[in-house]
């Protein structure tokens, strides 16, 4: 059985552990053996974004030590995958031994939907859902990783689901980590428009693959449109696949 | 100021660490390169009309002059200023003007720059020029400005009529600049590309023509 190492971002660990569990269940259902290194914490993105690269470097090294011996590494966050794939080699560019390890890691780290569709070659998970679904193209998944078709394939193959286009689905929701807190007026204008476009799309469910966007859009909907739902794709798919025998 | 500034700026730039950019990829494909003459014409016309330029196709100089007269009547032109370039000169438009009752001015009528400017800004209702080269890829005309192709004739009057011999059509800009800028010891003081009439969208994004230059660009494609 293929073993895959789960990289569960800190936002999921602390606030959205259901997504982590859904990731685990999904991978198991796909016939791979998901493992989780308990030594993992955070990829270091907050420090990189704030400019504190000395600190980020140490966190990156910790991450590399934790995941260094694995095969494929899979994460339910494209943004954190971008940190590992693109920022680690930059951070460690002046330490050849570490750079080599970072580059090796970069080549085998995947966002979840990308792993399912591109590596496992599965695009229909046999899921069922009745309703209209819109998809938010998270910035780092779309432009960082070039992943867009993969999650959409997984959604359109859900039986009974009606995939609807959402205006400006590829425009940022206004999260941006520290940005959301430090520029609340601008961030609010952005997330407000995102939610308006979702509502206008006529969908009754918004799916995405990024925990950061989920906190932002979900947080705004919870405050202002509590009847509108937004979900991480992993959790949605896991819920929408009928129970087939013994599972954990 | 300038001498020491020059030395200081260049010295500073040269002392900076050198970067080695990755090599240049090959020139990207431009489909226009393989077009045959008919396609060149078709694409030139399509691109120009897309920019609201007007194109009339005529077979020779006689028809060109007839077309000019037609346009003059339609536009109500009574005074025009014309270039004396190699395309327009042989048409002998001064003679043509006399026949049609149109006042035809040229820059050479004026020894004084200000008097010429008065004429081109205030008197001429249209400027008539030849075209040195035209480019199919965007429906563009290229003018080499010199003593026979004054700059303001094609930009100051509200209408610009340009006569383009069909053999001057080229597929891409480079095919034209390679010729125009070949002799580095004798470059034209100015070379212009014009694609459609003058335009702006500066007020609330709504586009309109004739902001500072011509409101109409009419091409007579000859041959």
């Amino acid at each position: 059985m293929k073993t895959v190492s789960m990289f569960i971002p800190c936002t999921v660990d602390l606030f959205l552990p259901d997504i982590g569990e859904a990731t685990y269940q999904l991978l198991k259902r796909l016939g791979v053996n998901p493992v989780y290194h308990e030594e993992q914490t955070c990829c270091g993105q907050p420090a990189i974004n704030a400019g504190y690269i000395k600190q980020a470097k140490e966190v990156a090294k910790h991450f590399i030590e934790v995941f260094g011996e694995d095969g494929a590494i899979v994460s339910p966050s494209g943004s954190c995958v971008c940190t590992v794939k693109f920022h680690y080699p930059e951070l460690l560019c002046d330490e050849p031994a570490w750079l080599a390890r970072a580059e090796d890691l970069a080549g085998r780290t995947y966002e979840l939907s990308q792993y399912i569709v591109d590596v496992l070659g599965v695009s229909d998970l046999g899921a069922f859902y009745t309703g209209k679904i819109a998809y938010h193209e998270s910035c780092h998944i779309l432009r960082g990783l070039g992943v867009s078709e993969q999650p959409k394939k997984l959604i359109t193959n859900v039986k009974g689901a009606d995939f609807v286009a959402m205006k400006f689905s590829e425009i940022c929701c206004g999260f941006g980590g520290e940005f959301a807190n430090n520029y609340p007026d601008i961030s609010e204008a952005m997330v407000k428009e995102k939610c308006e476009n979702y509502i206008q799309s006529g969908a009754d469910l918004l799916l995405l693959c990024e925990p950061g966007c989920l906190l932002n859009i979900g947080g705004y909907l919870s405050r202002n449109h509590p009847d509108k739902k937004v979900m991480h794709l992993a959790q949605f798919l896991n819920d929408a696949i009928p129970f087939r025998g013994k599972e954990n | 100021m300038s001498q020491s500034a020059r030395e200081e700026i260049l010295a500073k730039l040269k002392a900076a660490p050198k970067a080695k950019p990755a090599g240049r990829p090959s020139m990207p494909p431009l489909t226009e390169l393989s077009w045959d003459p008919d396609q060149l014409i078709a694409n030139f016309m399509a691109n120009l009309t897309a920019q609201t330029g007007v194109v009339h196709r005529v077979k020779d100089e006689i028809d060109a002059k007839a077309k000019l007269a037609e346009i003059a009547a339609e536009e109500g032109l009574t005074t025009v200023i014309v270039s004396t370039d190699a395309v327009v000169a042989p048409l002998n438009l001064t003679e043509w003007g006399k026949e049609k009752g149109i006042k035809v001015l040229t820059a050479k009528d004026y020894t004084d720059r200000d008097a010429y400017k008065d004429a081109v800004f205030m008197e001429a209702q249209a400027g008539i020029t030849g075209v040195d080269y035209a480019i199919a890829e965007s429906g563009t005309i290229g003018l080499i400005h010199d003593k026979d192709q004054p700059r303001l004739v094609s930009v100051a009057p509200i209408t610009h009529i340009a006569i383009l011999p069909v053999e001057r059509l080229r597929p891409t800009y480079e095919r034209v600049t390679d010729i125009v800028f070949a002799d580095k010891s004798n470059l034209p003081s100015q070379f212009t590309f014009t694609t459609g009439p003058s335009m702006t969208g500066d007020i609330q994004g709504g586009q309109f023509k004739g902001m500072h230059g011509p409101r109409k660009l009419i091409i007579i494609l000859m041959g």
Binding site: G51, F175, N181, Y183, Y220 | I9, M27, M122, M211, G213
Partner: protein, 481 residues
């Protein structure tokens, strides 16, 4: 030009409430999602065309000193006069002295970002030489004393009623009108008279071609052609990075510039000057001055990473692509350059201290980078500025993490490099954070992250983190086996 980059937050707040701007800005993203792809599709291979352009810019920046020398040599041979200026002050002084020497009463200008950067208009005005901006948008912005709202359309946001009042007061318009065409025509007539009797025209430069010593201007209105045809003196001002190796390179960059700027295949007018007019020519400048202005760029050039900013060709595509710009418009950026372009350039030209908000007010969404025809990686630049800021121990913008930031990240590093410390920190923080939670949701403001809670809730910290859940899953898996 007044520098207001430090008032970013304040101006942004005001602009967010401006309903007219909002209406205009709300359609701007269509330029990137619809118009730009459509215009790029006129290339048989758009990505190859982009790649080639990026390579040209990389090469031009890498070879800048040699290219400038080659350009100068050829421009001199063409008969142009070359003036080097280290600072905006030097360049302004040159233009002013020249104008005074020749008894110039007024000048007209083509839209030029470099003269905005220099603050040339103010300098001329103060000495009694009237500068008339002649690009319609720039003319309106100038008369209103406003900085450019957008690099391509400096006054795109100004309502027609306001323009009508302005033109009656300042451009000899007789009747009020809300018809943009009539307004445009009033400006045409007013400026036409200025062009007609013009003695000195001032323009920027889009590209300077090393191999021929030529300068190129790209425009739609014809005002720059007027500036270069009517007067006897032409002054064209370029910054160092305008130089490109060959005419063919310039042509390809112009293809990209026009498609990215306005979605056109080619702007209405491209004019290429190689020296002043010849003696037998009736119009065109008798004297062509080309000012090569440094204004901080040779300093920027010392740093290989910062130097990347000099690739910019000022097409303005990044503005429409930017979700932040599309909410706040150009004014909050507080200077000549706005949007991602300004966020990259202004910190280098004005200093990191004065421009902190510019490199922080970004979600790092990468939309600008993805469309940049010059190959600038904007987010990378912002992160680079933030690193320098962190190293300098200046206060970060925004207010959450202030001078305690370094300590915060030291602590955070401590907590994230061992899982036991991470878990301990979680256990300590959870009861504190969750005091604010009700039914699994926090909807009360928690300091110091009040910005978040202004419009958003946050899930409570998980009763069991994934770490804790895994311990249980693992136990179950082990016991099942």
């Amino acid at each position: 030009m007044e520098i207001r980059t430090e008032q970013f937050v304040e101006i942004a707040k005001k602009e967010l409430k401006n309903a007219r701007n909002k209406q205009f800005l709300s359609v701007l993203p269509l330029a990137i999602t619809i118009s730009r792809p459509r215009s790029m599709q006129s290339f048989p291979d758009p990505e190859a065309a982009n790649e080639y352009g990026r390579a040209v810019r990389a090469e031009a920046v890498a070879g800048m000193p040699e290219l400038l020398e080659e350009f100068e040599k050829n421009a001199l041979a063409n008969g142009a006069k070359i003036v080097w200026a280290k600072t905006a002050e030097e360049a302004n002084a040159f233009v002013l002295n020249l104008a005074k020497e020749r008894g110039i009463q007024y000048v007209t200008k083509g839209k030029s970002m470099i003269t905005e950067e220099m603050g040339l208009n103010d300098v001329l005005q103060e000495s009694g030489i009237e500068p008339f901006e002649s690009d319609l948008g720039e003319f309106i912005a100038q008369q209103l004393h406003k900085p450019p709202f957008h690099i391509v359309g400096p006054a795109l946001n100004i309502p027609v009623e306001e323009i009508s009042d302005l033109f009656i007061a300042k451009a000899d318009m007789k009747e009020p009108t809300t018809d943009p065409v009539k307004l445009g025509y009033a400006a045409r007539l007013y400026l036409r008279d200025k062009f007609h009797h013009l003695a000195m025209g001032i323009t920027g430069v889009n590209m300077a071609v090393a191999e021929t010593g030529s300068i190129i201007n790209v425009e739609n209105e014809g005002n720059i052609r007027m500036n270069k045809s009517s007067p006897k003196i032409q002054v064209s001002i370029m910054s160092l990075e305008k130089v490109v190796p060959t005419m063919a390179d310039a042509m390809h960059m112009i293809r990209l510039l026009c498609r990215n700027c306005t979605g056109q295949k080619l702007s209405a007018y491209i004019s290429i000057d190689s020296g002043p007019k010849k003696s037998d020519e009736v119009d065109g400048p008798e004297e062509l001055y080309i000012i090569i202005l440094d204004n901080g760029r040779s300093e920027i050039y010392q740093d290989i990473q910062a130097r990347e900013a000099l690739r910019c060709i000022r097409c303005g595509a990044c503005l429409a692509a930017c979700p932040v710009y599309c909410k706040i418009g150009g004014y909050p950026y507080g200077w000549a350059y706005s949007g991602p372009m300004g966020q990259v350039l202004n910190p280098l030209l004005l200093g990191l201290e004065k421009t902190q908000d510019l490199y922080h007010a970004c979600t790092l969404c990468g939309a600008c980078k993805s469309i940049c025809p010059a190959g600038i990686d904007h987010p990378k630049m912002f992160l680079y500025y933030r690193v320098q800021e962190a190293n300098s121990d200046k206060k970060a913008a925004g207010g959450f993490i202030t001078n305690k930031t370094a300590k915060f990240f030291d602590l955070w590093r401590w907590g994230t490099t061992r899982a036991w410390r991470w878990k301990m920190a979680v256990k300590t923080a959870r009861p504190f954070v969750n005091r604010y939670a009700k039914d699994g949701t926090i909807n009360k403001t928690i300091k110091p992250v009040e910005g978040w809670f202004r419009t958003r809730n946050l899930p409570a910290m998980a009763r069991k983190t994934f770490h804790e859940r895994w311990a249980e899953i693992n136990k179950k898996v082990t016991s099942d086996q």
